[in-house]
């Protein structure tokens, strides 16, 4: 027995150690993804019998104007969220200087990260409230009337993304602050000897060392943009009339409120395909980086 264990230990130990994670991943992620795909080919209300309808859900989805509104909003989220890494970097560079009181400033910028995104959503919807909100008060100070941004189908998504950008920027700032602490003093010193300062120092010496951090910041931001849901639910419930909905929210709405799990699963599958494109890019980057490292 001990002999058998000793002979197979080299592969049994890692297998046993990986097993819990692998089983969890298989059940929670893989199996449910496959089941979602399977459900998306049916008409199903969530508890009755499932009825096979082939690709009808997808056919209907591609004729659904709401789907394109949600998709467009997902794109707006993605593009606007890309502001978070550069903004985070800028703030990180600003607060990374050794000036008295910077610690306090740093913690101020850090605050939104501590708040639950639901709380951020509620606070911002108060800011946007017509007539009484902070925005309305600021506009009134300049003698203007603030637009009711959450009631306007063209502004609403931008208003919601702005709210979500606040904690996201703080998150990127923290990532960059960590990265700035790990800069090689030697390289900076060498650069200084060669006469680099200001913009040149940043562009050619600091930024190249932050590539890995930037990569992580972008990856986290993309994922954050695609899975945006809670803040939309709190601020607008996808409204007015669906104009701030995104795919994740539309999926939830169709499944839970309209009792259309098949249709919801079809939306989820499309979202999965979009995510998959990004995940493939992310994985190839990581694998390539690891190969270079090894």
């Amino acid at each position: 027995m001990t002999n058998l264990w000793r002979r197979h230990r080299w592969w049994l130990t890692p297998t046993l150690l990986i097993m819990p994670a692998a089983i969890l991943f298989a059940v929670v992620i893989l199996a449910s993804s496959v089941e979602s795909l399977w459900i998306s080919l049916h008409e199903w209300d969530g508890f009755g019998p499932m009825r096979w309808i082939g690709f009808d859900n997808y056919r209907e989805l591609f004729n659904d104007p709401q789907f394109y509104v949600s998709l467009k909003n997902n794109v707006i989220w993605l593009v606007m969220f890309m502001l978070a890494p550069p903004l985070g970097l800028a703030i990180a560079l600003l607060v990374n200087q050794k000036i008295r009181g910077m610690r306090f400033l740093k913690s101020l910028f850090f605050i939104p990260l501590v708040l639950a995104s639901v709380a951020v959503g509620v606070v911002f919807s108060w800011v946007y409230t017509p007539q009484f909100g902070l925005l309305a008060i600021i506009f009134r100070f300049f003698g203007a009337t603030a637009p009711a941004v959450l009631s306007d189908e063209h502004f609403v998504t931008f208003a919601v993304v702005t709210a979500a950008l606040w904690p996201q920027t703080a998150f990127c700032m923290v990532l960059y602050l960590a990265g700035l602490n790990n800069l090689s003093e030697d390289l900076i010193g060498a650069g200084r000897v060669d006469g680099a300062k200001g913009w040149n120092m940043l562009r050619h010496i600091v930024l190249p060392q932050l590539t890995q951090v930037t990569f992580i910041a972008i990856a986290v931001t993309v994922v954050g943009a695609l899975r945006s849901f809670d803040i939309i639910s709190v601020m607008t419930s996808g409204g007015p009339f669906g104009s701030s909905s995104v795919l994740a929210y539309q999926m939830f709405e169709q499944s839970i409120f309209s009792y259309r799990f098949g249709y919801g699963a079809a939306i989820a599958s499309i979202l999965f395909v979009i995510m998959a494109v990004f995940i493939v890019w992310y994985l190839t980057r990581i694998i390539r980086a690891e190969e270079r490292g090894a």
């Binding site: 969530g46 009631s151 009339f241 409120f257």
Partner: protein, 422 residues
Amino acid sequence: MTFKWIEQASTRRTFLKAAGGVSAAALTGFSMPALAQSAEVTVIAAESNANALEVLRRIGADFEKQSGTKVVINNMDHEAHKTAIRNYLVAGAPDVCFWFSGNRMKAFVNRGLFDDISDLFAKEKYKDVLGATTGAVTVDGKQYGLPTGGTMWGMFYRKDVFAEHDLTVPATWDEFLAYGQKSKAAGLTPVAIGTKELWPAAGWFDQMNLRINGLDKHFALMNGEMAYTDATLKPVFDYWEELIKQGFFTPDHTSFGWQEAGAFLAQKKAGMMNLGAFVKYTFPEQDVEQLTFAPFPKIEGIDRYEEFSVNSVHIPANAKNKAGAREFLAFFYQPENLSAYLEPGGNVPPRSDLPASKDPLVNAAVESLKTVAGTSQYYDRDTDPDMAQAGLTGFQEFMAKPERRDAILQRLEGTRRRIFKI
């Protein structure tokens, strides 16, 4: 740094053993209540009013004392319960659960998830005291639940605001338009509405359709038998558009929930509001006595129909202790228990033999209901849930962008055809 592997191993082993023991206990623990099932009734409630919940718990304790059957009351968040019920009715049903009558109940009855309690109705002679309300819990001549409390919808207003600005309660359409002009001149929004949660816009549609086309046509639409593009609906949207164009409603209403809109009424910034008596929760306590209501103004010369949504309590088909559940319901439904439960929430009692409420709004609603020719429940309770979701969004869009009427109605008609398979 050195690691003492041997010592570590023993502690890890004890940890693993302990963890294993805990999870095993948890697994067996789940099946333990099975022993106590025969003498237990589990209830799932979704009561957001703390006082009403307290009364419900007291009724449960009283029943326990009287019958020896243990009553377990689990209260859920009101909104979360709406989605959770679909899981627990199938997967792990309680013996009694609270829900809504009408179409929302029917959705579960059709899937065989609610128990037929016609026997309880016959035994306790509920039909004699419930009268027409029995219809709200009846499907194909059988009863599937007990109506608990109802919400009567109407135009709520503050007596002091109406007196201050010399406004009169509009009874007809022309009076309503005149009221609008007068209240606007007084600096009030004629009608407070918040459509962020969508449903208030659908309620407004219901009121107008009931006044213009009557109950039968309204139900034809709710049951998917009438097209949304039907010519009979045209005047409804014409009248509605007239109000929108004249600025009757709260500006930017899609930014406000019903509670914020209710605050406009409470703060004397708006004249009237279409809601149930629960609008009083947005009022400071000392102002509640100023609150009263009138029926929606008459438009066409037809009988008066009102919206009256009735909550209900049911026995799931998968309940384990159905006999105990019936006993508990019969106890809960005794006049003194039922009225005590309804009192804090200000709901209209379904039984005709309950004592008069201390809440004048409830008594006014009871009186008003006696003069009504028929009732609907509410748009999202009367029609298919999928249709309701599309309709609610459509009506909100119409209120914000009335010029899109045709596109909205076309879209709703497409949804109706898909859902009712036409």
